[in-house]
Structures are given as C-alpha cells and as structure tokens.
C-alpha cells in the first residue's frame, strides 16, 4: 500500500472514531433534554402557587418589605450569570456571557458598581482568564441542578441585598440574573432579568383565575411576606437554573448533531480521495509493468 493511501485510511479511521463519540453525546443530550424539561414542568405547580400567594399578600396588605423597596440612590448591583460546566455545547455559554457583558456595561453606564456571581465552570474560566473580579461562584451542577443548589445561591444573594450598600462593601441594591431561556428544542435565548427589588406584579405564566379572595393571614401579613419572599426568589433562581440546564442539553445536542454530520461529510470526501489514490497507484503499477515489459522486449529485440 502506498504512503498516500495509508495516510487517507488513517484519517478516515480517526474521523470515524470521533463521529462515534459525537453521535453518543448527541443521543445522551437528547435523552437529557426530555428529563430536564420534565423537571421544569414538575416545578411549575409550586411556582404558580407561590406566585399566587405572593400576589395575594401584595394585593391585600400594604406591608413594605426590604426585598421590594427600591433604593433611592443605588450604588452597587449584583449579576448572577448561569453558564455550563462543560463545553461541547456550541455557543451556549458564550452567548450567556455576552448577554451578561452587555448588561454589565448598561449597569456601569448608570454609575453602578457590579458584583458578579457565577454559576458554571465556563463563566469562571472566562472571568479568571481576563482577571476580572468574581464575588462568588458555584460549579459542578449546571446540567442537573437541584433545589438545594438554588437555595444556597439565593441565600447568599438575598443576604447581600439586605445589607446596606452605602456602608457595607458586600451589600448590593439590585440583583440581575442572566440565564438561557428554553423556548423550544431549537430556540434558546440568553436573557437578563431583574430579580430584586421585586416587582410583585408578574406578567409571565398564567394569571391567577378570577379575583383573589380576602385572605386571613396567620400570624400576620408582614410575617407571611417575610417567609414568602425568600422562597419566591429561590423558586425563581431554581427555575432559571432548570431552564439553563435544559438549554445546555439542547445546545449540546445541536452542536453534536452538526459535528456528526460534518464527520459524515469528511468521511465521504476522504473516501473519494483514498479511492483516487488507490486507483492512481494501480495505474502507475500497470504503466510500470507495461514500461518494463516494453523495455525488456526492445532490449531482447536489439540483441537478436
């Protein structure tokens, strides 16, 4: 076998091996999207009930809560950026980071300092590589977040929000969250939303049916709100984590699908080249034999 042909064969083998890997990753992601979507829909009843309860309290009491009061002179804002731990997901992480960068620029134009809180190794690496300050980061669960993770994150963010930003270096006046919304299998959009101070009127999700009844509060409206609002934030963060996880799997599935398709193309064109090389080798051998036979024939003809 000629050297050229051997090289082509070797490349075909390596592309085939890569294709097997990308194909497997595609299938794994496809099955995980379904699971992730089920988790999103499993969390919806809780979120709906919570939203209903929060709007009930907000409608029937005029209690002011630190989590709903807007600072008159905001000084610092926190941005929570949700990305993935692993790559191989196309532009998933980088588009979330790009969205976050845009948000940070807007916040800075408003004269705010920005504290960044990160979820996912990709964002951490991006910030570390550029020597940008990270307030805190959480990694290791981006493809399968649980409520406990959401709780850890929101506890810290709420604590930072409660502190007075004017005097405390850890305090923030606003909290923004950047995550990737799972619209459908093919569309995922990086979004930023302001979480705190809360705007209690919720527009997304089904509006509670009919008028809300006059509730009694136990022990009282203020206490109920105190207990409800942190849960509300947690459930919002949890929802953002779940949506991002579903988006991550969808992005990875799509990236791996096109990688598999590309590998197919590559194998096809390499096979053509290998065939041509083999044919050229055969042709050359034949012409060498013919040439050799001719030379022998003319040599023996000359000696006679």
């Amino acid at each position: 076998m000629g050297a050229q042909l051997r090289i082509y064969r070797r490349r075909i083998r390596s592309v085939k091996a890569t294709k097997k890997i990308t194909r497997a990753m595609e299938l794994i992601s496809a099955s995980r999207i379904v699971k992730a979507q089920q988790r999103v829909s499993a969390s919806t009843p809780y979120a709906n009930e919570l939203t209903r309860a929060v709007s009930a309290v907000a409608t029937f009491s005029n209690t002011n809560h630190p989590l709903t009061t807007e600072s008159t002179n905001p000084k610092r804002a926190a941005v929570l950026i949700i990305t993935s731990d692993r790559g191989m997901a196309g532009a998933y992480s980088s588009s979330a980071i790009k969205e976050a960068d845009g948000l940070i620029v807007t916040l800075k134009q408003r004269g705010l300092e920005v504290d960044t809180y990160l979820v996912g190794r990709k964002a951490v690496n991006y910030f570390k590589f550029r020597n940008r300050a990270i307030k805190n980061s959480w990694t290791g669960f981006s493809d399968n977040p649980t409520y406990a993770h959401a709780k850890t994150i929101s506890d810290e963010l709420i604590a930072a929000f409660i502190k007075d930003a004017q005097v405390d270096i850890d305090g923030v006046d606003e909290l923004h969250i950047v995550y990737t919304e799972f619209k459908s299998m093919i569309t995922q959009i990086a979004m930023n939303k302001r979480m705190l101070p809360l705007e209690v009127v919720e527009s997304d999700g089904p509006a509670p049916a009919g008028l809300l009844p006059m509730y009694e509060f136990e022990p009282n409206a203020g206490e109920v709100l105190n207990a409800l609002l942190p849960r509300y934030i947690e459930s919002r963060v949890y929802n953002a984590l779940l949506q991002s996880a579903a988006s991550e799997h969808a992005a990875r599935r799509r990236a791996m699908k096109s990688a598999t398709d590309n590998a197919d193309e590559l194998i096809k064109s390499l096979t053509r080249l290998a065939n041509a090389a083999r044919q050229a080798e055969i042709t050359q051998e034949i012409s060498e034999i013919v040439g050799g036979a001719d030379a022998l024939a003319s040599a023996s003809a000359g000696s006679e």
């Binding site: 309860a53 409520y147 006059m214 509730y215 009694e216 136990e218 022990p219 109920v224």
Partner: protein, 86 residues
Amino acid sequence: MSDKLLTVEFVTPEKRVWSGKATMVSARTLEGDLGILPDHSPLLGVLVDGKVSIKSEDGTNVDFNVSGGFLSVANNRVSVLGESAS
C-alpha cells in the same frame, strides 16, 4: 358532615407530592395547630417544620413531614407548599 370536599395540592419545588380530594387537612402554623374543613375562610399561613396530615376522601390518612412550608386556603382549595417533604 357536609358532602363538600377540599381540593388539596401538596407541592414542593421538585415535584407535586400529593393531590386529590380530602375531607380535612391539619397542619401546624406559627400560631398553633390548625385544622381545615370544607368551607374554611380564605387563609394564608406560615407552617412550622413538622407534620401535615391530609384525610383523603376515601378515609385514609396521609402524613407528610414538611419543612419551610406555607398553607393557603381559598374556595375549598388548599395548597400546601413545602421546601421539602417526606
């Protein structure tokens, strides 16, 4: 006893734990033990960590341990929200 029933939903962030018709729900709020029968007035209460028991329409009792929860009652609809339940 009236033939009215409560529609009960017991949900946590990760899943819907129990849902169905019930004749009574009892739980403990910050103010003390509370039993809810059909036609209870609308109520929103903060639960202390502990037991929530639901007497379902076929007469069986279902108990849950709940932590970090709430209870809301309106129009014979009871929703129990817990951070975790077992």
